[in-house]
């Protein structure tokens, strides 16, 4: 290995690494028995360093101080923030390759990683593309062609239309032939973008319009295809690794069924659902497909699996995937290292029987988004405080950001990939709970409340999941952790103890040990009696007694408490003079207002704040840019009618009227950038 890496060093003196998404090019390396923690997402760069290869990072100007840029040996700016002018700007990237003399390119996860044009241009200049050959990218990058090849390679495929859909009318005709529900998706796409499910003709038309627009803006290719939509399936994918000598391996599966809007949220490896027979069958078909296109490098074959363990080929991703770390955890392979080896022409080191399943790995995608809105609408902001749970063992965090980073509207809102590992699934899950509780993110709204609810949900724990998990479990939308009595007591007692600690610090003379307090939580009002003895607060609340102790550092964001003998990690999000305390407890943030008994009594005289009538105004649910405004003042809109379309993080979101009304005033126009909560349209 040592001689080999030296050799590589000589041959591949430079490797260009460039960023993908918010969370830039990265992988992580994990030995099966323990985790080496790399912070943060610069796995590709880390692996290069390990192998003695110098790296060059390319970046857009807003990412100039990003972590991957700092870590790389050299960095080149390839343009302004919009991806089409930077990370998708091939000319600029080719210039960067020439000016730095790079000999190979690792394309990261998104952007040009599956772009055949880019691979061609690299080949023309004699630069090695760390990934499969152009013909494989071309074959698999096109969903229509890939399906034909899969069929020929005897891989199970989904019934559907194997051609390009030209118009909305075509789409409807084809959909009717296949039978509803159908899935409309971008031929060039991936990652859930440009993808819609339609249950009737009208939705097909709408889906056609959105998908082609999204496909055009995301991939510069608006071709669509339509296929049968398999209801309630699981999404399970097989990692493959192939060399240029006709050898290919399957590195087991990843269960990626927990999704929202067709984007993965929680992944695990292995899957609780597969038996060894199905696993082998899927793995062998995946290898057949890889061999059919003379695939080399790492790739992923995605399957839909129905409740009877029938599986259908979905697509093949010819790049390293975001969720690859969990495969590394259970197999012990460094996929980036393997990709570089293969790119250089080496034979695979392993045989199929060498590939183990050791332990269990879970990955949570931590997003800057509001999980209370459609399981996650993008949010933006500046990470005023940011602390990864790296104090815990068997936890790794791959992120491309650091404290002070801006989450902008230009890229995917991913903050990090949080991976935990355990000898058993239960161990990995419990570690994930701890990791989420210890993760400090301030300044942007994030989806940790949702992640923590998912991984502690009985259905998830029992492995009873499908791609419809979220809408099935939360039919009325995600509402955060629902407190039962015992937990509510714990929360109130913690808030009371924190309140008193802060009060005591300010007090000069009074040495009080008994307090009568009152707390507001949601609609409820709870009176509490608190006694302090030493470092322990004994809180009587809600018909129960809770003992809370802790270190009570009022400057710390984390609040490690012992509540009735159990260790709990809470977080104090804010605390103000009017008694308002926001605590993150069991992943969800709760607002508790703690008042002295007197203040609470007097507070009952205070007038209630009148809530805004939200049915007659339309505010932007997220930051983004206005793509279209469908109404003008004086128009009458029906309930559910589209009013305008906002694009954020490359997703188009149609905003509709909450009631039938006349449009009073329009406050936005196409092309405008709007912030979350900005007034868009007023109805009468």
């Amino acid at each position: 290995m040592l001689t080999e890496s030296r050799l590589l060093d000589l041959l591949l003196h430079h490797s260009i690494v460039y960023a993908a998404f918010q969370s830039r090019c990265c992988t992580l390396h994990c030995k099966t028995q323990y985790s080496t923690i790399y912070n943060p997402d610069e796995k590709v760069i880390k692996t290069c360093q390990k192998m003695g290869i110098k790296s060059v990072a390319v970046h857009s100007d807003v990412d100039a101080s990003a972590v991957h840029v700092k870590m790389a040996d050299e960095a080149v700016c390839v343009g302004p923030a919009p991806t089409s002018k930077s990370y998708l700007n091939m000319d600029a990237i080719m210039d960067a390759i020439r000016s730095t003399g790079a000999q190979a390119v690792h394309p990261g996860y998104g952007f040009l990683s599956e772009n055949k044009e880019f691979a061609k241009r690299l080949a023309a200049e004699g630069v090695t593309f760390i990934g499969p050959d152009t013909h494989a990218i071309m074959a698999m990058g096109d969903k229509i062609e890939s399906k034909l090849i899969a069929k020929a390679a005897k891989v199970n495929t989904i019934p559907g239309f194997d051609g390009v859909v030209e118009t909305a009318d075509d789409a409807v005709k084809i959909a009717q032939q296949i039978g509803y529900p159908v899935m409309i998706k971008a031929s060039a796409g991936g990652g859930g973008k440009g993808m819609r499910i339609a249950w009737n003709d009208e939705e097909t038309r709408e889906g056609f319009r959105f998908s082609s627009q999204e496909a055009a803006s995301s991939f510069g290719d608006d071709r669509l295809l339509i296929e049968k939509y398999i209801d309630n399936p699981r999404h399970i994918e097989i990692q493959v690794l192939a060399d240029k000598h006709g050898n290919a391996l399957w590195l087991n599966e990843r269960e990626c069924s927990i999704q929202r809007r067709n984007q993965k949220v929680v992944e695990e490896a292995p899957s609780t659902f597969l038996d060894s027979v199905t696993r082998r069958a899927m793995g062998e078909q995946a290898v057949q497909l890889a061999k059919a296109v003379q695939y080399s490098s790492a790739g992923t074959v995605e399957f839909l699996v129905d409740s009877k363990k029938n599986f259908y080929f979905l697509e093949m991703n010819t790049r390293l995937q975001v969720e690859h770390p969990i495969t590394e955890c259970i197999t012990g392979l460094d996929l980036v290292e393997q990709m570089i080896r293969v790119a250089k022409g080496y034979k695979l080191l392993h045989k199929q029987e060498d590939i183990p399943i050791n332990g269990w790995a879970i990955e949570s995608r931590v997003y800057a988004e509001d999980p209370y809105k459609s399981f996650g609408l993008p949010s933006i902001g500046r990470l005023s405080q940011y602390q990864e749970p790296l104090n815990l063992s068997n936890v790794r965090v791959d992120s491309g950001i650091q404290e002070g980073s801006d989450i902008s509207i230009y890229y995917d809102p991913m903050i990090s990939k949080l991976v935990t590992y355990g000898a058993t699934r239960a161990e990995a899950l419990s570690k994930m709970e701890d990791a989420l509780d210890n993760y400090v993110i301030r300044g942007v709204t994030h989806n940790i409340p949702l992640l923590r609810e998912i991984i502690t949900h009985p259905r998830f724990i029992s492995g009873d999941i499908s791609t419809n998990f979220l809408p099935e479990v939360y039919p009325d939308g995600f509402k955060g952790h629902q407190l039962e009595v015992g937990n509510r007591r714990e929360l109130l007692a913690s808030a009371a103890a924190l309140y008193i600690t802060a009060q005591l610090r300010s007090q000069k003379v009074l040495e009080c040990t008994h307090w009568e307090l009152c707390a507001e939580l949601g609609e409820g009002l709870y009176s509490m009696e608190v006694t302090k003895s030493g470092n322990v607060y004994i809180v009587e609340v809600d018909g129960g007694k809770v003992e809370v102790s802790g270190q009570w550092n009022l400057a710390s964001t984390l609040l490690p408490l012992t509540i009735n003998g159990t260790d709990r990690m809470l977080q104090c999000l804010s605390r103000d003079a009017s008694g308002q305390i926001v605590l993150q407890y069991l992943g969800t943030s709760f607002k508790v207002r703690v008042l002295s008994k007197l203040a609470a009594e007097l507070n009952s005289y205070m007038p209630e704040k009148v809530a805004e009538d939200t049915s007659s105004i339309l505010r932007s649910p997220m930051p983004g840019s206005v793509v279209a405004v469908s109404v003008k003042p004086g128009d009458t809109v029906a309930e559910g009618q589209e009013i305008c379309v906002i694009e954020a993080m490359k997703m188009q979101n149609s905003l509709t009227a909450a009631k039938q009304a006349k449009v009073k005033k329009v406050h936005c126009k196409p092309g405008e950038t709007v912030g979350e909560g900005d007034l868009l349209v007023e109805l009468e």
Partner: protein, 522 residues
Amino acid sequence: MAAFSVARSSCGLINGLRVSFRSLAPVKHGAVAAAALQTSLLPDCRRYSVGHLSVKERIDMKRKAALVGGGQKRIDAQHKRGKLTARERVELLLDPESFVESDMFVEHRCSDFGMEQDRNKFPGDSVVTGRGRINGRLVYVFSQDFTVFGGSLSGAHAQKICKIMDQAMTVGAPVIGLNDSGGARIQEGVESLAGYADIFLDTSYLFITGPDVVKSVTNEDVTQEELGGAKTHTTVSGVAHHAFENDVDALLNMREFFNFLPLSNQDPSPIRACHDPSDRLVTSLDTIVPFETTKAYDMLDIIHAVLDERDFFEIMPSYAKNIVVGFARMNGRTVGIVGNQPKVASGCLDINSSVKGARFVRFCDAFNIPIITFVDVPGFLPGTAQEYGGIIRHGAKLLYAFAEATVPKITIITRKAYGGAYDVMSSKHLRGDVNYAWPSAEVAVMGAKGAVQIIFRGKENQAEAEAEYVEKFANPFPAAVRGFVDDIIEPATTRKKICRDLEVLASKKQVNPWKKHANIPL
């Protein structure tokens, strides 16, 4: 009044009196109406019955009467309006059981318009006064009682306030005034705690002349809220320094605010145990200033990150938002923060922001509170509105305030420090004790573009000249080589440096030349 009716119904036995007193107590608030009736029917009864009460009993009755102010009906009305009574406010503001009331027996002495009648006399009159403690620290309080003649200012009322003010002076304690009065003179007559007024959102109004008078004099139609509501005074007029949701919020915040301040100009600010390490590195600051000099960022992000526990009590947060002022702590000690806000009007100085800043700086100087200034200022706002409004005069107030201040002054230039506005913002030239520049600082007469347009007017190669100007001036070196800044520091070290400097500057002594009083350009 209450005493009267009680006495009337219990002439005779002492025992009977006690019993009936107790039984009457729950309905004592109805006494006003009952008493009025009795006065007219039995004119001699009062003298007669009072004569039969012991002094002690009379004292008790007066005290009881004082506690209900204008009676339960008016208290209910006050609550209905979403307001607390004068006593409730005092109770909430002060530490439990710490209130010591004075002048409970004072009654007004007016004899016109039937005011001399007993039913128009209320023990304590329309204000509650006394002293108490906030977190154990002494404070004098007056709280106007709207339930008694609408809280209006009588001679007795004023006398009560003056009395506690005099007492406060002798012991060196502050006075907090809780104003709730229909009387227009009150705003002139009374200074609340060091001049800081609180207004309660939606229930409070403050004006010299009410809407009716305005209508008759200027024919302007205006609502109470528009003329003198919380929003007007915190966003437009700058009369109020903070608005809160309601009485309870305001009073709890007042307690918090009080914790920042010394009891007097002779007293040091309280030191709070600091859980936030004073040498904490704030790495997020290394990336906060954007590369493009025209791009805005939020100065509050810097301020919060540097302070103890991100705890910032902002003053006038809704007025002249292009400057940020407020109180905070560094390593447990109170400091005043002044910062340009690039997010609003590019952080330029205009009339309102200059006056806001100047007032705050003088407040800090008056109470020995060190001032930390964060500078990112592109200059004074140009234009006729500003010039005609006297920006030169008002800008000079801020300059004067900084120059005159003898408290420790630490200045951090985060980005732009252009022209006259640079001088004004606690520069070295105004006796700044420690002046730092971040690597992103640009100390110059003006921005490169504007400068080049003037220097090379009508000439070609402006872009080239602009690049040269940027190279020469858009960095901290020109200021650093001249000693206008003491050091160029890594942003992450800002908190550590400030905390250390404050320790050193704690013993700073600087005396201005003697004068009867300074002559700030008013």
